[in-house]
Amino acid sequence: MSALDRLAERQLVVVTGKGGVGKTTLASVLGRLLAERGRRVLLLEVDPRESLHQALGTEPSGGNLVEAGPRLRLQNLQPAAVIEGLVHEKVPIGYLARKIVESTAFHQFVEGAPGLKETAVLGYAYRVLHEGRRTRVDVVILDAPATGHGATLLAAPGLLAQASEGGQLGSMAADLAAFLADPTRCAVVLATLAEEMPIQETLELLEVLRARLGVRPELIVANGLYPPLAGASGPELLRRRRRLNEAELARLAAVWDGPLAVLPLLALDRGPALIQALAARLAEADP
C-alpha cells in the first residue's frame, strides 16, 4: 500500500512543518490528489493571512467554505471565532453568552490559555467529520499553523485534557486526543525543504512526535528541490544548490526509513497550474 493509498483512508491529515517550507502548497497538492481518488475533501487553513486560495485559484475564504474543484473545498479558520461559537452553543442564554464573549477576561483567556486555540481548530475538524450527513466531508486536510514547534498543535488536546480533567472542556479535549492518537483515522504529513535548517528541524520534530506523542508521520515531503543537471553543465549556483539538497536528503534518509517523496522546484508561479504539476509528480513518486 502506498503512502497516498493510506492517506486516502484517513479522516484527518495534518500537514505540518516550519514556516516557509511549502506546507500550504503540499496541503493543496494532497487535497487535489485525495479528491481525485473520490474523497470529499475539506482543506483547512488557520493563518489569518490567507494563501490557500491563491494556490487553488479561488477567491479568499474569509471564514467561509469555498468550492475549489470537484469534491474539494477550502476554508480559512479563525480559532478565536471557533471558540466564541462554542461559548454561544454551550451557554444557552444569548445575553450571557454575549457578555462573556465581549469581556476582557474572556479574550485574555483565549489568548493566554495554552493549547486552547490549537484544540479549538482540531475540534472544529473533528466536528465537521462527525456531522457527516450535513457537511459531507470524508477527509479534512489541516494546513497546520507555522508554530515554533510542529508538535504544539498535536500535543495541545492531550495537555488540555490533562489540565482540565473532569470538566466539559477536558472531556472534549480527551476525545480529541484519542482521535489524534488513532493511526487508522489520523495521519501526519511533514513538509520540509532539503536544506540544513529545515532538515535539522524535521529530525527534531520526528523525535518529539515519537517520544511525546508516539506518532510516526505517514509521509515526509521535501519541497522545492533544485533540478539535477547533467555533468558539469548549467549554472554553478543551481549545481551547488542541488548538491546541498542531496546531502541534506541523505542526512534525513540516515534517520528516516519511512515514505519520503521529493518535489521539484518548477518554473511556475503559485497557482492551480503549479498544484496540478506537483500533484502529478507526487502521484508518480507515491512512496
Partner: protein
C-alpha cells in the same frame, strides 16, 4: 547609498521563517566586531553549520562565548533558551529556595506555562536586558525567535505588565483560597461561582493549579513589572533599530508588509529592509533546463523586489542580498557575506 546596515547600539533582526535571519545576524555581528565594536550576537536556534562557523556550542546557552578571530573589536555569541531563562528568573526573584521550588513543582508551570502566549518571547527580551545591563558591549544584535504570532515579542513586555496587573491575580491572591479569613460575601460568591463554573467547564483542578501557580509566582511580580517596563523603553529607544529580513519573490511580500505594519503601529524604528536569497539573473544566453529555471527564479525574485519598492516610501532603504551557493560555513565566509551586506545599494 551603502554602509548603512550597521548603526545603532541595538539591532533587532526580524522576519518570517526560513528567510535566513540567523545567518544574516551572525554576519552583521562579525562585521561589527571587525569595525572595532565590542559586539554580542544573541540567537535562538542556529544551524549546526553556523554554530560551527562561530565556534559556539551548548556552553553558550548559559553565558556568552567569545568567538575567536572575529576582529579588532570583540565578538561574543549567546544562544537563547527561553525555558532556562524563565527558570533562572525564578531563581533570581524568588524570595527563598522554597518559593522557587513551589513554582518548579507546580503542574501548570511544568506542563503549560511555556505555552502561555508571549512568555517565551518575553524571556528573550529579559535576557537582552540582562546583557545590556552588563555594559560589556558597544552593540548587541538580537536574532528574534521563530514565534507563533510573528510579532509577539514586541508585545511581550506589555502583556507581561498586563498579566501582573490583572484582576484575576488579585482574586487568586486572596487568603480565602487557603481556607483562611472571613471574606466578604461578594468575594465568597464570586470565588464559589468561579469554582463551580470551572468545575463544569474546565475542571476544578485546572483552576486550582492556576491559582497555585499565580500565588507561587506573586513574590516575583514586582521585579517582573519593573523589568518589563524597562525592556519596553529599550525597544523604543532611538539607539534601537529593527532590521527586517524578507524572503524573495512576490509571495513573500505580504509577510514583509505585515511585519512593517506591526513595527510602525507599535512605534519602533525601522532600519533597512534586507531582501534575502535572491536568485541572480544568468542573462539571456545559455540554453536548457538549468538556465531557463534560473531566469524564471530571477525574474520572480525581481518582481517581488519591485513590488516591495512600489509599496514603500522612497526613503525606505531596501537592500537586495543574493542567494549564496552554499550557506556560510566559517568566519571567512561570514565575513564575505558581511561585505556584501555592507556594500549593497538600495533599490
Amino acid at each position: 547609498m551603502s554602509g548603512t546596515v550597521l548603526s545603532g547600539s541595538l539591532l533587532v533582526v526580524v522576519g518570517g521563517g526560513g528567510v535566513g535571519k540567523t545567518t544574516l545576524a551572525a554576519a552583521l555581528a562579525l562585521g561589527s566586531a571587525r569595525q572595532g565594536q565590542r559586539t554580542l550576537v544573541m540567537t535562538f536556534d542556529p544551524s549546526l553549520r553556523l554554530k560551527d562557523a562561530l565556534g559556539v556550542g551548548e556552553a553558550a546557552l548559559d553565558e556568552p562565548i567569545p568567538v575567536p578571530g572575529a576582529g579588532p573589536g570583540r565578538l561574543e555569541a549567546a544562544l537563547l533558551d527561553a525555558r532556562r531563562t524563565f527558570d533562572r528568573l525564578i531563581h533570581t526573584y524568588a524570595p527563598d529556595a522554597a518559593a522557587a521550588e513551589r513554582i518548579f513543582t507546580n503542574r501548570f508551570y511544568r506542563d503549560m506555562a511555556g505555552g502561555l502566549a508571549g512568555i517565551l518571547e518575553y524571556m528573550a527580551m529579559e535576557r537582552l536586558f540582562e546583557m545590556r545591563a552588563a555594559r560589556r558591549y558597544d552593540r548587541i544584535i538580537l536574532d528574534t525567535p521563530p514565534t507563533r504570532q510573528a510579532m509577539d515579542f514586541l508585545l511581550a513586555p506589555e502583556r507581561m505588565m498586563h498579566l501582573v496587573n490583572n484582576r484575576a491575580i488579585q482574586f487568586a491572591m486572596d487568603p480565602w483560597w487557603d481556607r483562611k479569613g472571613g471574606k466578604n460575601l461578594p468575594f465568597r460568591l464570586a470565588a464559589k461561582g468561579a469554582l463551580e463554573l470551572s468545575d463544569h467547564l474546565i475542571g476544578r483542578r485546572f483552576l486550582l493549579d492556576v491559582v497555585e501557580f499565580i500565588r507561587a509566582f506573586a513574590p516575583l511580580f514586582e521585579g517582573f513589572r519593573h523589568r518589563a517596563e524597562e525592556v519596553q523603553k529599550l525597544l523604543r529607544a532611538e539607539e534601537t533599530r529593527f532590521l527586517l529580513v524578507a524572503g524573495p519573490g512576490p509571495d513573500r511580500v505580504p509577510d514583509a508588509m505585515f511585519f512593517l505594519r506591526k513595527l510602525q503601529e507599535t512605534g519602533h524604528s525601522l532600519g533597512p529592509i534586507l531582501v534575502n536569497q535572491l536568485h541572480p539573473d544568468p542573462g539571456p544566453t545559455g540554453r536548457g533546463a538549468g538556465p531557463d529555471l534560473l531566469r524564471f527564479l530571477a525574474a520572480r525574485d525581481r518582481q517581488g523586489l519591485e513590488l516591495l519598492r512600489h509599496l514603500l516610501p522612497g526613503t525606505q532603504e531596501i537592500l537586495p542580498v543574493a542567494l549564496e551557493p552554499d550557506p556560510p560555513g566559517d568566519l571567512a565566509e561570514l565575513g564575505r557575506l558581511f561585505s556584501k551586506l555592507d556594500n549593497a545599494t538600495s533599490v
